[in-house]
């Protein structure tokens, strides 16, 4: 026994050492700790099980050490091409949350204002009967599901099948609307096909990495460490183009700061320079692109029931050149606060035919009232120069969540989506009806509510039943000052499936206890189109259940059992095999389970036993069949689109009354709303609470000291936080930054629910606030 105690203590010490070495590796790529690092964690008698990380969209491969049915260690999978054995500080500690003392282990049903522990079967009876009776009384569109980019592929698939195929409503949307919808709309409008054409191996070939409003050192630390390794080893350069100085800026070769929203103008100025200096790849542009323009002055979606439909009009290259005359570096420098020299510097990088360039972005470009346009504009730059779809050259939209691509985008848990295509397309509806074995007429042809509008509908009383899974909207939605009271209204029956109590479960009528990641099997799809599969590693506590299985059980109780014939033990695999039928073919074929069982994932299109790393490039992609070097087969004529998209201002800009920009975001220690990472002691201790960052001169002018509590006030709400000066990040003058992970400091009470009219993704990066001393 004593020997066992010593062994355990020694083991814990090695774990602690490994955690520190891993964290150091994310800060200092290539760092070597000699034999300690090579030895890694002792295997002991642990059973190491393979899977993807639970957190961000990078999709690192992990190995979970299981001892006597408990997850006791996590390490990076050295066989994963994504992370090559590295993990960030969140990834390393991820399983520590599942033993949290306040874990939801049993169903809770609110009775007379109090939560009562209830058998899961009884709680699912109630959910099904409530959903059914609501439909009978108020129609199909009175019920809704709101899921997640953290839902597994089977979870998203059965949610879509239940809502769209069985019930017959498009009232299904997900939190990926809040982070990736602009990327989706950007890909579809430019290429007619969603998701990046390249892969992480681009990092090994690029000469330049240009990050657009993207703090990768904190948000995608393992990928950033791979970039830094290339910087150190072969002189690749990182250019950070952002509105705030971050850890990424400090590790980059050059940091260029711009005034919020003017990225639209700077991107056009880069296009102007490329054309004006003769750097355009004319052959590529002539063969592979069309020029279009869309509507302008398109609004911001601030009013309920906002409607917008873009209209594309063909333009000539000459028209495009004339349009760009408004975006000379000299004109743009005046309002972007980016110098003429720096605009020309950026353009020269893209314009140099001998340099390979990858552009990376995530929330800065997507959470933008012109997010679709911004995505289009960066594609314009790569299309004008022909730097796309080849190793080391390409635009690469990073995802925030582990299966924003795999589940939200590929399975299609948005109101307008189906597992293949969109509800508006008859052919796509017919395919879904055939595979789901439902009448074609069941699937409505019109999208209903996107995320923001869904919660507005709850507020108006139009939605009378909502079921949220794997997400915490009452912390993550914009303008929670409206949507929290909305969800508290008696008019809507709220069901929340989660692993831990959250501010969202606080307003639920029924709380369903969900299994965590490794307590169930599943599949995720990461940013580089890589699908990863894992099997159950440990049992969940109490009556916890997988979300997919709870959806199936509710479907059965509602009378749809014949559409959900899956077995409890094999439902993950059975659902995936059914789902794969949607994507058969060279353009999106998914790897079979037997491949995913062995490998640390496979990239789709998976054709003839091989991943396709660079889509649309005939040398790499078997789906190219136009006889040319590139084939953008998402569009009927095989050509990508260069879009004319102007600069338009943000809906709310600082003024005399509200003189500061508010920018919100994340920190490396915490995952989104913090419901998991704030229950991991080491992460919580490292970053125990949110804060508001000031530029030191702004703080000095207002007499604000570091750590002093101040109130951030907008036209929608307020939030009191401690001031942070010269700590983690440095906003530009006239801007403040607040991370949103802290449910005790609800900065989303302050943010605005304006969104991109095309993608419907809200803008969390720009609204006007004032600061009050408290």
């Amino acid at each position: 026994m004593a020997q066992k105690k010593i062994d355990r203590r020694s083991f814990v010490k090695k774990m602690a050492a490994a955690a520190a070495m891993t964290a150091a590796a994310t800060m200092f790529p290539g760092i070597v700790f000699a034999s300690e690092q090579e030895q890694g964690i002792p295997s002991g008698n642990l059973d190491w099980k393979k899977g993807p990380c639970r957190f961000c969209g990078v999709g690192c491969g992990i190995l979970v050490g299981v001892d006597n049915g408990k997850a006791v260690a996590v390490k990076g999978d050295p066989n994963s091409s994504v992370n090559k054995g590295l993990l960030c500080v969140k990834g390393y500690h991820q399983t520590m949350c599942i033993q949290a003392k306040d874990r939801l282990e049993y169903a809770l049903v609110k009775k007379n204002g109090k939560y009562v522990k209830t058998p899961l079967s009884e709680a699912l009876d109630l959910v099904a009967s409530k959903m059914k009776s609501t439909i009978e009384a108020h129609g199909k569109d009175s019920v809704a599901m709101y899921t997640s980019g953290q839902s597994t592929i089977p979870e998203g698939y059965v949610a879509s099948k239940l809502m769209k195929g069985a019930i017959g409503t498009n009232n299904l949307d997900c939190n990926a609307r809040l982070c990736m919808a602009s990327a989706v709309a950007g890909f579809l409008t430019t290429f007619g096909a969603d998701e990046p054409m390249g892969c992480y191996e681009d990092i090994d070939y690029a000469d330049y990495f240009i990050t657009w409003g993207n703090n990768m050192a904190e948000m995608h630390p393992v990928l950033f460490s791979r970039m830094l390794e290339q910087k150190n080893n072969r002189g690749a350069k990182i250019i950070d183009f952002a509105t705030r100085t971050t850890r990424s800026s400090m590790a980059s070769n050059k940091s260029i700061l711009f005034e919020p929203q003017t990225d639209l103008a700077v991107a056009n100025a880069i296009c102007y320079e490329i054309i004006n200096n003769g750097w355009m790849n004319k052959k590529f542009v002539d063969e592979h692109t069309n020029f279009l323009k869309g509507k302008t002055n398109i609004g911001y979606g601030l009013e309920d029931n906002f409607k917008f439909k873009d209209k594309a009009t063909k333009i000539s290259f000459e028209d495009f050149k004339v349009f760009l005359e408004d975006y000379t570096p000299e004109k743009v420098a005046k309002y972007s606060k980016v110098s003429v020299k720096d605009i020309k510097y950026l353009a020269a990088i893209y314009g140099d035919p001998n340099k390979k360039v990858v552009s990376y972005w995530c929330m800065g470009m997507n959470q933008h009232t012109r997010g679709t346009w911004m995505n289009n504009l960066v594609y314009n730059i790569h299309l004008l120069t022909g730097k796309i779809s080849e190793p080391g050259n390409g635009p690469f939209s990073l995802t925030g969540q582990p299966s924003a691509c795999g589940t939200a985008r590929e399975v299609g848990t948005f109101t307008h989506k189906l597992p293949k295509g969109v509800v508006m397309n008859e052919k796509h509806r017919k395919l879904a009806a055939k595979i789901w074995k439902v009448p074609y007429e069941n699937i409505p042809s019109k999208p209903t509510y996107h995320a923001t509008e869904m919660f507005r509908a709850v507020d108006r009383g139009d939605i009378k039943f909502i079921w949220t899974q794997v997400t915490n909207p009452l912390v993550s939605l914009p303008k929670t000052s409206r949507y929290r009271p909305a969800m508290e209204k008696e008019s809507c029956f709220v069901v929340v499936s989660d692993v831990f109590p959250t501010p969202t479960s606080d307003v639920a009528d029924v709380i369903l206890p969900a299994k965590w990641h490794i307590e169930k099997g599943g599949l995720y799809g990461n940013s580089e189109r890589r699908t990863q599969y894992w099997q159950t590693m440990v049992e969940g506590p109490g009556e916890t259940e997988a979300d997919a299985w709870m959806t199936i059980e509710v479907a059965k109780r509602m009378g749809y059992g014949d559409l959900f014939p899956y077995t409890k033990e094999g439902h993950v695999e059975e659902i995936y095999n059914e789902y794969r039928q949607f994507h058969e073919g060279k353009k999106h074929g998914m790897a079979p389970l037997e491949v995913l069982e062995k490998e640390s994932g496979a990239i789709w299109p998976f054709v003839d036993g091989k991943s396709t790393q660079w889509r649309f490039n005939a040398a790499h992609d078997p789906a190219c069949d136009n006889g040319k070097d590139f084939h953008f087969y998402g569009k009927p004529d095989g050509k990508a689109v260069i879009w004319q998209r102007p600069f338009e201002p943000a809906p709310e800009v600082p003024d005399g009354e509200y003189p500061f920009w508010l920018n919100t975001g994340r920190v490396i220690e915490h995952w989104h709303t913090g419901s998991m990472t704030r229950r991991i002691p080491v992460l919580h201790k490292a970053m125990p609470q949110a804060y508001v960052e000031f530029h030191p001169e702004d703080a000095k002018e207002m007499g604000i000291r570091n750590g002093e509590n101040v109130k951030v006030v907008s036209r929608r709400g307020s939030c009191v936080l401690p001031a942070s000066i010269n700590e983690r990040g440095l906003p530009t003058r006239g801007q403040v930054f607040v991370p949103f992970f802290d449910e005790n400091m609800m900065i989303n009470d302050v943010t605005i629910d304006a969104f991109c009219p095309i993608s419907k993704e809200p803008d969390y990066k720009k609204c006007a606030v004032k600061i009050e001393k408290v």
Partner: protein, 76 residues
């Protein structure tokens, strides 16, 4: 019985002296990086009080520029 790990940043050029200082503490295990001015420190103390005392002593080391906590375990 807390076990913690830290990343330590020595003052410029003082890494070897810092390592030497750290080796004077029996509760400390030191893992120096080979190619960076960084040291990993793992502490193993008998109680929360001992852990706090050690933390305070470490912060007084003259060759230490900055230390950041990475992980903490309470092994009972």
């Amino acid at each position: 019985m807390p076990i913690k790990s830290y990343i330590l940043h020595p003052l410029k050029g003082q890494k070897e002296l810092l390592i030497s200082d750290l080796k004077g503490f029996t509760e400390c295990e030191v893992i120096p990086a080979q190619n960076h001015e960084v040291v990993i420190l793992v502490t193993d103390t008998s109680s929360e009080i001992a852990d706090t005392n050690l933390f305070n002593k470490l912060n007084e080391l003259k060759n230490l520029k900055h230390m950041s906590l990475v992980s903490g375990f309470e092994d009972k």
